[in-house]
Amino acid sequence: MGGVQPLSGSFRDPSGSVYQFEGRIFRTVNGCFSQEFDFVTSTGLFQKMATEGLLLPFEVVSSDVLKLSDPKPQYVLEAPMLPFISYPYEWSFPALKAAALLHLRIHLQSLEVGVTLSDASAYNIQFQGNQPVFIDHLSFRRYQSGEMWVGHRQFCEQFLNPLLLRAFFGISPNAWYRGTQEGITTGEIRRLLKWRHYWKWNVLTHVVLQDLFQKTSTKRTKSLQNHSLAKASFPLSSFKAMLEKMSHWISQLAPLNKGESTWGDYDKTCSYSSMETKSKKQFILEFAQTVQPTLVWDLGCNTGEYSEAALNGGARNVVGFDFDQGALDGSYHRAIERRLSFQALFMDAANPSPNQGWNGLERESLQSRASADAVFALALVHHLAIARNIPLVQVVHWLLTLAPQGVIEFVPKNDPMVQELLSLRQDIFPNYTTEHFMALLKEKAVIIKNETVSKSGRLLVWFKRK
């Protein structure tokens, strides 16, 4: 096996594969699927959806570009490289909801021209800033009269059920989703339901009955039933109605217990005075104006106030990370309202997304997706070094692996926020000092600028890796 290899996550679909080669992204279309692909192309759907921003645009390039020999693909498509790849288990509630609605919209538009989707994988959607975009051009194929929504179960597991977990029970789905990778099964959601949920028609059908039929069918006359089902027919009008009703239901879903977030109101309640916030924003603005980064990672982004400052300064994209659902929801709404190229993802900095899935390589770890030009760690270090007992030296070294330059804020021990973290526990951090932090940073980076922004001595440091 020589030559270019497909990406490690691209193996499920026999219709084609995805390759990254010389900094470009290609998708092959195999001979077995070329008729389907030709048909979809002939409907004009690809072009229409790409123009509307629903689908990632592509162009057909020479099939020799990848130098693949046997079997040679029928077509090679080139799509633009996205600045960052994220996974559904890292998305916030409103982002997953937007992705679900995009999927349904695309499917409905496709059916209008005699095309359907062969699956409903949430991994087929990526975000450009706050906007979801469909990336899998091989999910589209000819609709055959009377066929069912084959991706319905997958849609429920990867979109609907994680949304219901937060909408009905106020539980963040991210850790669960990351654990299973394929979403949350309908059987699991059904077990959590209370009687009051059963009276909703959508819950009754998509959760209760679907699970009931699945379970009873595995017990009785499975082979006979499967034979009949394989030949069964579903009217197109019912198919469309099902997609439309699902879309309406999902558009109505909202998180339960919005007010219980720790950080959602952080902008209003944090210990910064407005002067401190102003000077911090000014520092970020200056950094972005000077560096002009293509991609910034904002670790512990909260509701994205400083991500916005970076974008205002000239950063082209910001990906923020936080583990608080309220902060993520706030970030999403900030990005929508102000049209920012900003996406906030769920992540606990002390437990970032690992390599996982088939062969441990199907989905990449956060670390291996580290392609940012700059990293921000504002008011983050004390959460790792004190609240999570991670040695300061490791925190500093880890941050330096993520990007060649950035801004780190060091919050000293006498600051009220650190005092709160220490209020119920013994201070076992004698080395947690500004001097020690600076010494560690200087070992591996050059300090471009630093500035004290609060009376307690909070220090912003602009560094460049050696």
Binding site: D119, Q144, E147, T218, S233, F234
Partner: protein
């Protein structure tokens, strides 16, 4: 409840054996999802049938009423 159960089963049987179809099988749709879709399709079909018969049923009376009125008006002219 028993009637509802019979209705569901009859709808499913009607639909299952009424048509034939085979789709490209890249993804296992899951039996639960398929039976559910047959049920939903069956309900939608039943609603269409009911509407159709209802309009015929109503039309029957309306038609009779119209015929009667036409009949009486023609008698009046005599």
């Amino acid at each position: 409840m028993r009637h509802l159960g019979s209705f569901v089963v009859i709808s499913i049987i009607l639909i299952v054996f009424g048509f034939e179809n085979s789709a490209l099988a890249y993804l296992d749709p899951g039996t639960g999802s398929m039976v559910l879709q047959l049920l939903l399709g069956g309900i939608a079909g039943a609603v269409v049938i009911l509407k159709l018969y209802w309009s015929r049923f109503v039309g029957l009376f309306r038609g009779n009423a119209r015929e009667e009125s036409e009949h009486s008006s023609s008698e009046d002219q005599k």
